[in-house]
């Protein structure tokens, strides 16, 4: 019997010497079933070899096969057969098993633990191709006191004083990973189709963009009036770019609109106040406004202190912005981006402060509140069209046409889907195949 008393450092220090070689790796083109069969067959070879050479008291029949449910390729199912309890070292208690693994030529590392009654564990500690394959061992863990083996925060076995009896080394083995998720083909097709429509439209429509009709959007028509009002009254403009952070496209759209707005306010040297809820948004918006003032040739009019961070607490932010509204009495308030429950609190306070208010959001639950309390509201996609509308840049205007074509495509798919779902009463199999294609 090989009994190893070791702490974590000695476990990590050993190197696994492979006795047998089996590859669970197959070509990426093989299907799951084929790969699984291949792995099982190869693993069986490993079992024979390891069983033949297994030390007494150690786990036998050790197998390591790819976990077919894991497409990522970081998991293997390691299984074994338990040794008899009579082989337990004197004065110790059976506390479980631990998997050990080592990339070929590298030091051994401790893997997951398993309770004494188990005979397999999903080990999520591997890396797929092109990383090195692994040698693997399973050890029985004995403890001096009756307890279940667990790892502490540093990864060492607790309680201390663990003894390990190692199985033979099997390997090298390697999990399999998928390079393409076929279940998402539908998303890929729609994504490529829509991108192609937008890009082709941009290519062909750019030359005729100036003649292209854009539905008048009252909220955007009113932007100049709002700036004019603020300039005449000598009062500031308040700009809020939503509460959803920089990773949201709505916030990015709001920042694009801020850029256009700032270029115009810079021209008239109208003060623009931008309280921010996210420090990243603040940093980006400060740069956008600074560049807009530079572009307008009025760098001296730029006031960095007007674009500032307040707090990321939702209602703390609302309280602060409401305070600004009541103290500064802005001539115009802009609410662009994604909003939550604070939408009406902001808009009603702005109304009480006597400001002209323009809102734009893709938060459909907050649209009714903005429509009620603001003078103008950009609804949903109008927020994303605003940049093109305000700049009238041919490339951006042409892209709106692509967006419309995309909408027609989706409407067509919806109609066909509705028709097929209705026909499913008569041909359920055909209809189901169509509908299944849209499952993500």
């Amino acid at each position: 019997m090989i009994v190893c008393g070791m702490d974590r450092s000695t476990v990590a220090g050993g190197a696994l010497a492979p006795r047998t070689h089996h590859y669970a790796r197959a070509e990426g083109s093989l299907r799951h079933g084929q790969r699984f069969r291949l792995c099982t067959a190869l693993a069986a070879l490993a079992i024979c070899a390891s069983a033949w050479a297994a030390p007494p008291g150690a786990p036998t029949q050790v197998k390591a096969v790819d976990n077919p449910e894991d497409d990522r390729g970081t998991q293997m199912i390691v299984s074994w057969e338990a040794p008899t309890k009579r082989q337990r070292p004197w004065g110790t208690y059976w506390a479980g098993y631990q998997v050990f693994y080592a990339p070929v030529g590298r030091e051994r590392r401790p893997g997951p633990l398993a309770p004494p009654e188990s005979t397999e564990v999903v080990a999520a500690c591997f890396k797929p191709w092109p990383w090195r394959p692994y040698n693997t061992q399973v050890a029985v863990v004995y403890l001096p006191t009756p307890a279940l083996a667990v790892t502490d925060a540093s990864g060492a076995i607790a309680p201390s004083g663990a003894h390990f009896v190692f199985s033979d080394t099997i390997g090298p083995v390697q999990p399999l990973a998928l390079w393409y998720n076929a279940k998402r083909t539908n998303v890929l097709v729609m994504m490529l189709l829509y991108s192609a429509i937008v890009l082709i439209t941009i290519h062909y429509a750019t030359r005729r963009a100036e003649d292209m009709y854009i539905r008048p959007i009252a909220g955007l028509e009113a932007v100049n009036d709002a700036i004019g009002r603020a300039t005449e009254m000598g009062k500031p403009i308040l700009y809020i770019s939503g509460l959803s952070g920089i990773s949201d496209v709505a916030t990015i759209a709001a920042m694009l609109i801020l850029g256009h707005l700032a270029r115009r306010t810079a021209r008239y040297e109208t003060q623009i106040i931008v309280p921010c809820q996210d420090p990243l948004v603040m940093a980006a918006e400060r740069e956008i406004v600074r560049d807009a003032y530079l572009e307008a040739g009025k760098p001296q009019a730029f006031r960095p202190e007007d674009i500032y961070y307040v707090t990321d607490s939702q209602f703390g932010y609302v309280a602060a912005v409401d305070g600004v509204m009541m103290r500064e009495r802005p001539a115009a308030c802009f609410y662009m981006g994604y909003f939550y429950a604070e939408a009406l609190i902001l808009a009603e306070t702005g109304n009480a402060a006597g400001a002209i208010q323009i809102a734009g959001t893709d938060a459909d639950t907050q649209l009714p509140f903005f429509i009620t309390a603001c003078d103008y509201t950009l609804m949903g996609e109008e927020l994303y069209a605003a940049s093109a509308y305000l700049s009238r840049q041919p490339l951006l205007v042409a892209q709106l046409r692509g967006q419309d074509l995309g909408k027609i495509l989706i409407a067509a798919v919806l109609l066909v889907g509705t028709a097929i779902t209705t026909l499913a009463t008569f041909w359920p199999e055909v209809a189901q195949r169509f509908l299944d294609w849209f499952n993500v």
Partner: protein, 213 residues
């Protein structure tokens, strides 16, 4: 360079994020998780910028004795107190931080949210008018849903909750899906034009997309 480097980074990261959605391999998912971690790290450093901004804004207000400067003193003192309580004494149960959270932040937050009830009432009174057929339809629907959401509605008409539920689950969801489709397409198109560098106005002067009037 000031324009090209951000454009190249945006393009590469944007394309990677789109591609990784279809790649379950560790290369795709590991890379995605790494980028998420980077975003968190950048966010953590940006918080330092935010705190700096907070101190500069309020410090400047106090120094120059601008109107309402005592409120800035309150803001900065509160900030310091919370940081000291959290770092020195921890934020578990029965700590000073926990006490401030329960007895100051909870009521303040709840109060701000409760303002919504007052504002809903005043906005409804001020603007809810049956000016047109559409506005009348909206008004009647709103009244039905409001009644359907409280027990008194059922006392007035026993099927009021079902009618309200139907309005919420059928016409509302239908309209909502229409808006969402438009939003999704708009967001995708915006993302596409940013990734491809068509939209550059967020890059400021270097990439400003110009102005039309």
């Amino acid at each position: 360079m000031k324009l090209q480097v951000p454009l190249v980074i945006t393009f590469l990261v944007g394309v990677f994020m789109a591609v990784q959605f279809f790649v379950p391999h560790e290369v795709g998912q590991g890379g995605y998780e790494m980028l998420l971690k980077w975003a968190r790290l950048v966010g953590a450093f940006a918080l330092v910028l935010g705190i700096g901004s907070l101190w500069r804004t309020h410090g400047d207000k106090i120094r120059r004795r601008r109107p309402d400067w005592p409120y800035s003193v309150v803001a900065l003192v509160s900030f310091v107190v919370m940081v000291v309580l959290g770092i020195v004494y921890g934020h578990g149960e029965h700590t000073g931080f926990d006490w401030v959270f329960r007895h100051i932040q909870v009521p303040l937050d709840a109060t701000m949210f409760a303002l919504l009830a007052f504002f809903v009432a005043s906005a409804a009174f001020r603007t809810f008018r049956a000016r047109s057929v559409e506005a009348t339809l909206l008004l009647v629907t709103a009244l039905v849903v409001m009644l359907g959401r409280v027990p008194i509605g059922e006392l007035l008409y026993h099927r009021m909750p079902q009618v309200s539920e139907w309005i919420m689950t059928v016409p509302t969801v239908a309209g909502k899906r229409g808006i969402l489709l438009g939003v999704a397409l708009g967001a995708a198109a915006t993302a596409l034009r940013i990734i491809l560098g068509i939209e550059r106005s967020h890059l400021g002067g270097a990439g400003g997309s110009g102005e039309g009037e």
